[in-house]
């Protein structure tokens, strides 16, 4: 009975979303204040019903209700409670419900946070969000009902996929969704501006914090996923350029471009139609990612194609949401051209170039990801586009971007003397070149051109970011928090670049067979194999190896990689054991028993790999600083005289 209530709650939520979508938008068009006022209560109502549905599904997992097909497929009585919770979003139906819950959460946040905005504008934003929610919920109810019952409930469930039984992966999907679903807010702001037919600097100030919040969560979500892939899959890679990964990375790239373009629109009232297009594009890429992941048009996610209705439905959803916005854009954007000049050396141009490189990178990733599909659809053969392609192609826009970033941070709005700019970055440039060339030489005693370029770029970004704080610290001045956000985020990017370059240039990987009592050398470390023991987990059994990691004869730590076999889904799982430090990770994964007591092991030495995730975390921290700048709090606080649009104001 209770799961049916969940389904009923979803249906009610669809109804409320439609009300939230249609009435306020219509009311805004015909200037009916009563209809406009429906937006906030409807938003709150749909959130409550989606949350009820979500809670009911979670309760079904916690109470082992295997009469619900989704629970039976993805849970088991022996599954630890934490993973029962995570299993709610462990597969298609539940993760779609999470998608809806996250969107409903953002909608309520906008409903609360938009009290200071003009009523009509807020109603339009909420209306657009309501229509998107209605579409996603309809998709859930029509093709992917998580509450579907089994006629004969099994005695026990099929268990959650072992790969997903991991703390980082439990929180990765919520983070990721909060991020890329959050771009729906910027999208709704853009469509509301198009509906109103005008856009001013206030608009950009309202949109910026929402966009940055979403970006921050997406940054953390992607980093978590990458970290998980690194330690859980047992291969030691951290990014694979798989279509599913690209699906979350493209909104991130374009969202980053949007953040920068919004800065220009806010400060100078320029790039208006361009910013709108980016806001539409970023969320459209999120939707596109959802389509790619769930429709089975690319190899990565083939098995979802089991139900072609899903692919068709979500393509129609993508087509109508993005298509409508782009048609509106085609009709209205021409009225939003801003006039205003700037000079070749100015922050406007720096940010314009930033956008060119970020959009270029997004386009290249998108094109590469979809190219096999294009060829196949044209009957021109089957190809694979993988990491070797993306690694080359991604560098082409990224290297100039990193170079320009250090300059761009120090440019002034409107115009600036080129010589002044160069004088400002002289010292950071010198530091970057010296540190970037000498340190790797001393530390690793070899240096390739590409790694030198990468390390110098990373150092350059960090040094250029730190220039202002150092100068200010000496002069006892203070920076506004938004500025700190920019500096910290750019520093994070620099650390990330350093991590990526050093790891890929200097990692050591050894696959070897080893017997108890023997030892292997990796870099300056020695790894001794003491032996094996059997371990019993809550829902798995494992063989655990015991390895002593030594450096110069001193014991550093004992590593214990496992090879697990889960009781229900019996495929073997590799649990790597990692000793991590700032400067390096030592990674051991246990392979197969080779007979005679010998085991295959994979040993990896990964210098500075922590910088990759730490850098991403620092970037996200920069986003947090930027969003909490007080001028945004002022911008959305209730104001007596709305600036854009009032009920009396004819659009």
């Amino acid at each position: 009975m209770i799961p049916e209530l969940g389904q009923f709650a979803l249906v009610l939520a669809v109804g409320l979303c439609l009300i939230q979508g249609v009435l306020p938008l219509w009311g805004a068009a015909v200037r009916n204040a009563d209809w406009v006022a429906v937006a906030r209560p409807a938003a709150a109502g749909q959130f409550v019903f989606v949350a009820i549905a979500f809670a009911i599904l979670m309760q079904a997992f916690l109470s082992n209700d295997f009469s619900v097909a989704y629970v039976a497929r993805n849970s088991n009585t022996a599954l630890p409670t934490m993973y029962k919770v995570a299993a709610v979003w462990g597969a298609h139906e539940g993760s779609l419900l999470l998608w809806s819950l996250v969107l409903a959460g953002w909608t309520v946040a906008v409903a609360v946070g938009s009290r200071g905005l003009p009523e009509i504008f807020a109603a339009r934003v909420l209306g657009v969000l309501g229509l998107i929610s209605a579409g996603i919920l309809l998709f859930t109810v029509a093709t992917s009902n998580p509450f579907e019952r089994l006629p004969v409930p099994p005695l026990d469930g099929n268990d959650l996929n072992p790969l997903l039984q991991d703390p980082a992966l439990a929180i990765h999907p919520p983070m990721l969704y909060i991020g890329y679903v959050g771009f729906a807010v910027a999208f709704a702001f853009a469509v509301a501006a198009l509906l109103a037919g005008r856009l001013d600097r206030e608009w950009a100030r309202w949109t910026r914090p929402w966009t940055t919040w979403a970006w921050m969560f997406l940054t953390m979500g992607i980093a978590l996923g990458s970290w998980w892939a690194y330690y859980e899959l047992g291969w030691g890679g951290w990014w694979f350029w798989d279509p599913v990964e690209n699906a979350s990375f493209m909104p991130w790239l374009l969202g980053t471009a949007l953040i920068h373009s919004l800065a220009v629109t806010e400060k100078r009232g320029l790039f208006k139609s361009w910013t709108l297009l980016l806001a539409i594009g970023t969320f459209s890429l999120s939707l596109l990612g959802t389509f790619l992941v769930r429709s089975g048009v690319l190899v990565s996610v083939h098995a979802f194609a089991a139900d072609p209705a899903r692919g068709v439905f979500i393509l129609m959803l993508l087509g109508s949401i993005t298509g409508t916005a782009l048609v509106l854009y085609a009709v209205r954007a021409r009225n939003m051209v801003a006039e205003g000049g700037f000079h070749a050396v100015s922050r406007e141009v720096a940010l314009l170039l930033n956008n060119v490189f970020l959009v270029g990178a997004t386009a290249a990733v998108l094109f590469g990801t979809l190219y096999p599909l294009f060829l196949d659809a044209l009957g021109a053969g089957k190809i694979s586009v993988g990491p070797p392609f993306f690694e080359i192609v991604f560098l082409i826009p990224m290297l100039p971007l990193l170079f320009l970033l250090g300059l761009g941070m120090h440019t002034a709005w409107r115009t600036m003397q080129a010589t002044t700019l160069l004088r400002m970055v002289r010292i950071p440039a010198l530091v970057a070149v010296l540190v970037g060339l000498i340190v790797p030489w001393l530390w690793f005693d070899r240096l390739s051109v590409l790694s030198a370029v990468g390390i110098v770029s990373g150092c350059w970004v960090v040094a250029a970011s730190l220039r202002d704080p150092i100068a200010l610290w000496r002069s006892q001045r203070r920076l506004p928090r938004g500025q700190w956000g920019m500096i910290v985020a750019h520093c994070g990017l620099g650390l990330f670049v350093l991590g990526v370059t050093v790891t890929s240039a200097y990692n050591i990987e050894i696959d070897e067979s080893i017997r108890p009592g023997e030892s292997l050398e990796i870099g300056s470390y020695e790894l001794g194999f003491r032996g094996l023991r059997n371990v019993e987990g809550p829902n798995y059994r494992a063989v655990e190896g015991e390895f002593e990691l030594r450096r110069d004869g001193t014991l550093v730590t004992v590593l214990a990689p496992q090879k697990r076999v889960y009781n229900v889904q019996t495929s073997p799982m590799t649990e790597a054991s990692i000793d991590s430090a700032w400067s390096r990770d030592v990674f051991v994964a246990l392979g197969d028993s080779l007979g005679d007591g010998a085991w295959s092991v994979r040993l990896q030495y990964k210098p500075m790999i922590r910088f990759i995730w730490f850098g991403a975390l620092v970037m996200a921290l920069g986003g947090l600083l930027a969003t909490t700048d007080r001028r945004y709090r002022n911008a959305t606080a209730p104001k007596p005289s709305p600036a854009t649009d009032t009920l009396e104001d004819a659009a």
Binding site: S273, L277, I280, G281, S284, F291, S295, G296, V297, L298, V299, H302, A305, P308, G311, V312, L315, L318, G319, T322, G323, L326, V327, Y329, A330, V331, A333, R334, L370, P372, L373, F374, D376, A377, K382
Partner: protein
């Protein structure tokens, strides 16, 4: 102004590609060997390891080459149909026993019936690589001069036989 139409036009093109893509199977990889002569091989037969089967034995008449193994679930599914097909069509079917335990393979044929004229044993999978095999069962249609006409991946059924094989056999016979 026309330039504001560019995004929506590009997007429409993309949606058209996706709509087409939904009808395709992205994981299906067509064999580059179609239209090429079968790879050379000489392998021991399952019945008697001292006797060998080679690619030359397949020439002379239209035949099927079926890649199978006892560990393969799909092979078990199609086996009944293969037995039926061998009896009905009169077409010679050659077996390629892929990376398998030969004793288990012999027992399998004893128990389930032997549709094959001869089964060759590819214990280390080397010849299967030459045939571009990546998932058993796979069935090749080979014409009289040893050219590969068609390759079917996944279990063979009466429906597949009607739809994919018969027209090609008729065409090969007509030439």
């Amino acid at each position: 102004m026309w330039r504001y139409l560019i995004p929506v036009l590009l997007f429409a093109g993309l949606v058209a590609f996706f709509a087409r893509g939904l009808q395709l199977d992205p994981s299906y990889v067509p064999s580059p060997l179609i239209g090429k002569p079968i790879p050379e091989f000489t392998l021991p037969t399952l019945a008697d390891p001292n006797v060998s089967l080679s690619d030359r034995d397949l020439r002379g008449e239209l035949s099927l080459l079926n890649v199978w193994a006892t560990w393969c679930v799909g092979c078990r599914q199609e086996h009944g149909y293969l037995v039926e097909l061998a009896a009905q069509s009169g077409l010679p079917i050659y077996g390629l026993n892929w990376k398998d335990d030969t004793d288990a393979a012999r027992r399998w044929l004893q128990q389930l019936g032997d549709p094959y004229r001869v089964t060759a044993v590819d214990a280390d999978g080397r010849i299967a690589i030459d045939f571009g095999v990546y998932g058993a069962p796979e069935t090749f249609l080979v014409d009289a001069d040893g050219t590969i006409l068609f390759k079917h991946l996944s279990p063979l059924t009466a429906e597949v036989w009607q739809r994919e094989f018969l027209p090609r056999i008729a065409q090969a016979a007509g030439q």
